[in-house]
């Protein structure tokens, strides 16, 4: 009995300690804003693009706070995997960040949570963006987000493997790609011809590469069309590649980043990559003999999958509008913005930024394909659902008929 009492006491102490801690936690969170008489606090929620991201933002914030001593910026960096759950949880708890760097914004816009970004930037800053990118951020005439960084994709080719397999030049259309990849795969020894990542990490990107390359589309701001006859050739071609053994094993559940590592190790003939891939190769296997060429399409016409991530501003308290404007104006000034973009290996979305980077050798193959970039229909509120459906379902192409997979994705989008 004595013992029971002691355990009881221990439990009680543990319980009160837990509650005390919990209440501290709530207290800290509740002090949102912390507006003392002199200053404003901006909460900034951003994803991590690389190990440098946090440091880069800290530098930006330090510079900004120096110029604007009455504004404090709280930085929160999350992984891409968690970002969307974190923002949803924060919004549900009434603690939305003031500035958020993320992907699709249409859901937030539909819920009336966002500022029209023209209200939170100066006219000079706003007019510096490339028009095509701004157009991509508009929903019924209102601009809800600022383009942040851009990226385009291109085919990375392992020259040595192609030469070994007797392929003279990098492929430009699907037939050549299939032929070249099959030949490289036939080299054996664990070498794969084409690296095809259809796993959950970024299935929508590989899907876009093929479906759009065959003349397909994911839809526009009013309609998502995955189950569309124009998407079928691309999906069928993916199956053809898999069935011919031209890809690595189990493409349906292979994620992009780990597969890119295998390419960097020199065991994959060709794979679609991004500008940061150049830096990764530089760092991990500088010996690799590779070239970057446009993505092969059905008829050989140029096409690339463009991605622009966004910065958006949430309407929390009306009085932060000026502080947000100051932050955006500071961030997008070429001297701050260009080093950021360059350090992360992306492409700039401002005109002044593009001018500064025009001479960059490593970015040239990507800047060249940028005019032919097609974008995800991210202004459509249903795009988030489509994105999720691609991630969780598209890899089934490996085992299921192409039409069934497209139908299933469409069904999940329509239900979402």
């Amino acid at each position: 009995m004595r013992k029971t009492h002691r355990i009881g006491a221990a439990v009680a102490i543990a319980a009160s300690a837990t509650l005390a801690l919990a209440s501290c936690g709530f207290g800290g969170g509740g002090g949102n804003g912390g507006d003392d008489a002199s200053g404003t606090t901006l909460d900034l929620l951003v994803p991590s693009y690389s190990d440098n991201t946090q440091g880069l933002w800290e530098d930006v914030i330090a510079g900004f706070e120096e110029e604007n001593p009455d504004i404090t910026v709280n930085l929160e960096v999350q992984s891409w995997d968690n970002l969307e759950s974190v923002i949803a949880t924060k919004i549900q708890g009434g603690e939305a960040p003031d500035i958020y760097n993320g992907g699709p914004f249409a859901g937030f816009a539909a819920d009336g949570l966002l500022y029209d970004v023209e209200e939170v930037t100066s006219p000079e800053t706003f007019s510096d963006f490339q028009e095509s990118f701004i157009a991509n951020e508009q929903l019924e005439g209102t601009t809800y987000a600022l383009p942040f960084i851009a990226s385009a994709r291109a085919l990375f080719v392992n020259n040595a493997l192609l030469e070994q397999a007797g392929v003279a030049a990098p492929p430009t259309d699907w037939d050549e790609l299939l032929d070249a990849a099959t030949k490289v795969s036939a080299l054996g020894g664990g070498v794969a011809g084409y690296g095809m990542p259809l796993g959950s990490e970024e299935a929508q990107a590989e899907a876009a590469v093929w479906l759009w390359g065959g003349g397909g589309t994911f839809g526009d701001e009013s309609e998502i069309t995955i189950d569309d006859p124009s998407n079928l050739p691309g999906a069928e071609q993916i199956k053809k590649m898999i069935d011919a053994g031209a890809t690595q094993a189990d493409p349906g559940s292979t994620d992009r980043s780990p597969l890119m590592d295998i390419f960097i190790q020199g065991k994959i003939g060709m794979q679609v990559g991004l500008p940061p891939t150049v830096g990764q190769i530089e760092e991990n296997n500088p010996e690799l003999d590779y070239s970057i060429v446009p993505i092969p399409t059905q008829d050989g016409s140029p096409m690339t999958v463009g991605v622009a991530d966004q910065l958006m501003a949430f309407q929390n308290d009306g009085d932060k509008q000026e502080a947000i404007t100051a932050f955006f104006d500071y961030f997008y000034s070429a001297d701050v913005y260009v080093p950021w973009v360059q350090a992360e290996g992306f492409l700039p979305v401002t005109k002044s930024g593009a001018e500064q980077l025009a001479g960059e050798e490593a970015l040239k193959p990507f800047l060249d394909v940028l005019p032919d970039a097609k974008f995800y229909p991210s202004t459509n509120a249903k795009w988030s659902a489509a994105d999720a459906a691609f991630k969780s379902l598209f890899g089934q192409l490996q085992t299921k008929p192409a039409q069934d997979v497209l139908t299933e994705i469409q069904a999940q989008v329509d239900a979402g």
């Binding site: 319980a15 919990a22 189990d250 349906g252 559940s253 292979t254 999720a388 969780s392």
Partner: protein, 310 residues
């Protein structure tokens, strides 16, 4: 409880006011526990029930009540029943394998042998390590191209593709390996619970069995096992709940597989939240999962009658 107070007055039956006063007097002691139960267990559970009947937008805004629509969505999902069956398979296989292996391990650890202390400590290790870490180690080992398990299997000639086999890339093999990992991490707790049970078996009973001429097998099944009944009951019940609610192992091992061919209810809840941002449907499915666990436990208690005294 109040009646068995040590050193207390003799029980006064038929005087409810006294009992009430006792309860109030006990409040400072049970209060923190009650607050904890209400704050950390019941309050979130109620929020979950409420959420399951609301329409919550992708970005987390509550748009009002929808009655039971979320439950309809859960049950009309075409993969729900296969996932349900897989969940039952997952629980039954993992718990059964864990208990059988643990019975053997506990028996070994109950015998005196040199170095027993070290072996006993070794058995605790999977318990002490983080489940995600243990799973990641196995996951990377199974990766094609560089995984150590795959390389080993290629080297001994069991896998004939030079880059190895995609164990975690195919639903069936990934699920099977998940079961292996789940059994591995469940062993320490189960073994120690059974070991504790074994140490309550009185030596004279075993001696009596020996005197009566029972062989080792007969002694074990006729004498030892029945006495382990209550230890086994605890081990099985806690394992059922734990294994049913286990997310990390399957999340790591089957996370990159497209479709729903390796999912259990827990990973489906996770996918609703993480991929589709349907907090409302996920809440409804959580409520369903809660009911399923209760039913499984009720069936177990009903059929096996683990609490019955021998």
């Amino acid at each position: 409880m109040s009646r068995s107070r040590p050193g207390g007055a003799e029980p006064r039956t038929g005087r409810p006011r006294q009992g009430w006063r006792d309860t109030v007097a006990a409040l400072p002691w049970i209060g923190p526990a009650l607050i904890l139960i209400f704050g950390v267990v019941l309050f979130p559970a109620v929020v979950m029930f409420v959420n399951s009947t609301r329409d919550i937008s992708i970005s987390g805004v509550d748009k009002g009540s929808v009655g039971l629509d979320n439950y309809v969505e859960v049950f009309s999902f075409p993969y729900f029943w296969p996932i349900f069956v897989r969940t039952i398979v997952w629980v039954v296989v993992v718990v059964a394998a864990t208990v059988v292996i643990s019975l053997g391990l506990a028996q070994i650890l109950n015998k005196a042998f040199p170095g027993r202390r070290i072996v006993r400590l070794a058995v605790i290790i999977p318990w002490a390590a983080s489940v995600v870490m243990t799973t990641m180690v196995v996951y990377y080992g199974l990766e094609p191209y560089f995984g150590i398990i795959n390389t080993f299997l290629v080297d001994v000639g069991l896998v004939d593709t030079p880059e190895g086999y995609g164990w975690t890339r195919n639903p069936d093999t990934a699920f099977a390996w998940s079961i292996v990992v789940a059994v591995f991490v469940s062993l320490p707790f189960t073994t120690y619970t059974i070991l504790a049970g074994l140490q309550t078996v009185p030596g004279e009973v075993l001696e009596a069995a020996k005197m009566d001429g029972a062989g080792p097998a007969r002694t074990y099944f006729g004498v030892v096992l029945p006495q382990l009944r209550s230890a086994l009951a605890v081990a099985v019940l806690i394992n059922i709940i734990n294994v049913f609610n286990s997310l990390p192992i399957l999340k790591v091992m089957t996370g990159s597989i497209p479709g729903y061919d390796a999912d259990t209810i827990m990973t489906l809840i996770f996918k609703y939240i993480q991929n589709q941002h349907k907090v409302d449907v996920a809440s409804a499915l959580s409520v369903v999962a809660f009911v399923i666990v209760i039913v499984i436990v009720a069936v177990y208690v009903r059929v096996v009658k683990p609490m019955k005294e021998i």
